[in-house]
């Protein structure tokens, strides 16, 4: 939250070198939910998956420290990593879900670096599984999942069959902190390593980034003395 983000001089993207990477906040909530379900003995095993270069193993270690049983690191680096987006990730997740015979895929509703909000939905579509997105409450009831969803205008409750894809919203839970003792204990847990090609996934992007610019600088606010002044100003700039 404290790092100043800078656009690269060639406007091809944002500078990521030297910027500390950590687990996407919405994914922390997803991991927490999965671990909670396991603690309630409603699911047998939680596998933490991350796609990217070597550094992502740190994020997988954090997930293991929070209580996941094992990890899978899908290695993507260089140009493939720069071009990687929801489509490629959802293809990887779909392939892994079949390979691992997963009954639930839980992920954050969106990543805070690209704000796509697509991976969960695309993964469900590729697998032809039902989806419970923007989940603020998850209840497993036999072979079905009851999901309360945050939508514009309120909350929607749905019941879907497993296997299913769920995406976590802010109010789903409070993620536990990965403390030092937990990180030490998690060192024994295994992280498997593989490449997208091992899963039969092609990483070719269908999207080309043309240009990245900083948002326009906000104009300074104007202070007014009275309510009449405020009304006059709002009228003058056409707001009312």
């Amino acid at each position: 939250e404290n790092t100043k983000i800078r656009v690269k001089p060639d406007h091809s993207g944002v500078v990521t070198d030297g910027v500390k990477h950590s687990m996407n906040p919405f994914c922390e909530i997803a991991v927490e939910e999965a671990v909670k379900l396991k603690e309630k003995k409603l699911i047998k095993e939680v596998v933490a998956v991350s796609c990217g270069p070597t550094q992502v193993t740190e994020t997988i270690r954090t997930a293991l420290a929070m209580g996941c049983d094992r990890g899978i690191h899908v290695e993507v680096s260089g140009k493939d990593y720069e071009a990687m987006g929801p489509l490629q990730i959802s293809k990887i997740f779909a392939a892994l879900a079949k390979k691992e015979e997963a009954s639930l895929i839980i992920l954050g509703k969106q990543a805070i670096d690209d704000d796509c909000n697509q991976t969960g939905q695309m993964t469900a579509a590729l697998l032809d599984w039902p989806q419970g997105t923007f989940a603020s409450e998850v209840t497993i009831d036999g072979e079905k999942v009851k999901v309360v969803r945050e939508i514009d205008g309120g909350l929607e409750t749905i019941k879907i069959s497993m296997p299913a894809v769920l995406t976590a919203d802010l109010r789903l839970n409070t993620p536990r902190y990965a403390t030092l003792p937990n990180i030490m204990k998690a060192k024994k847990k295994k992280i498997a390593n593989m490449k997208p090609a091992d899963l039969g996934v092609d990483m070719v992007s269908r999207v080309e980034v043309l240009r990245v610019d900083e948002p326009p600088t906000r104009l300074a606010g104007v202070k007014v003395e009275t309510v009449d002044d405020l009304v006059a100003k709002l009228r003058a700039n056409g707001t009312i």
């Binding site: 919405f26 802010l170 902190y177 403390t179 030092l180 003792p181 707001t239």
Partner: protein
């Protein structure tokens, strides 16, 4: 950290021994948590060290127990601080923005 651990072990009596490893682990855990402290990891580790050094001559196991419990409490406080900071940042970025767009301000 070695100085602090030595101080804790040298001045502890035989009765304080079982608590030695607890104190050591508490220090390590707090140091680990302090990396994300808003005022900086260095600020935190300085104050952590002086807080432990201040109590290095305590020998009564009941007293040590109280101090360790206080340390555990600080751990919980820090976890809550970090969570709230993240939660508020996310809420501000993704939720209050919708509100201000609705009201046509900001």
């Amino acid at each position: 950290m070695n100085q602090v651990v030595k101080a804790a072990t040298v001045s502890g009596s035989d009765m304080a021994n079982p608590l030695r490893s607890e104190v050591r682990q508490l220090y390590k855990n707090l140091l680990f948590l302090g990396r994300e402290y808003p005022k900086g990891a260095d600020y935190f580790s300085e104050r952590l060290k002086s807080a432990f050094m201040k109590n290095k001559d305590v020998t009564d196991p009941k007293e040590i127990r109280k101090l360790v419990d206080r340390g555990e409490f600080v751990i919980k406080e820090l976890e809550a601080l970090y969570y709230l900071r993240k939660y508020r940042a996310m809420k501000k970025r993704y939720y209050e923005e919708e509100l201000s767009t609705m009201l046509n301000i900001g």
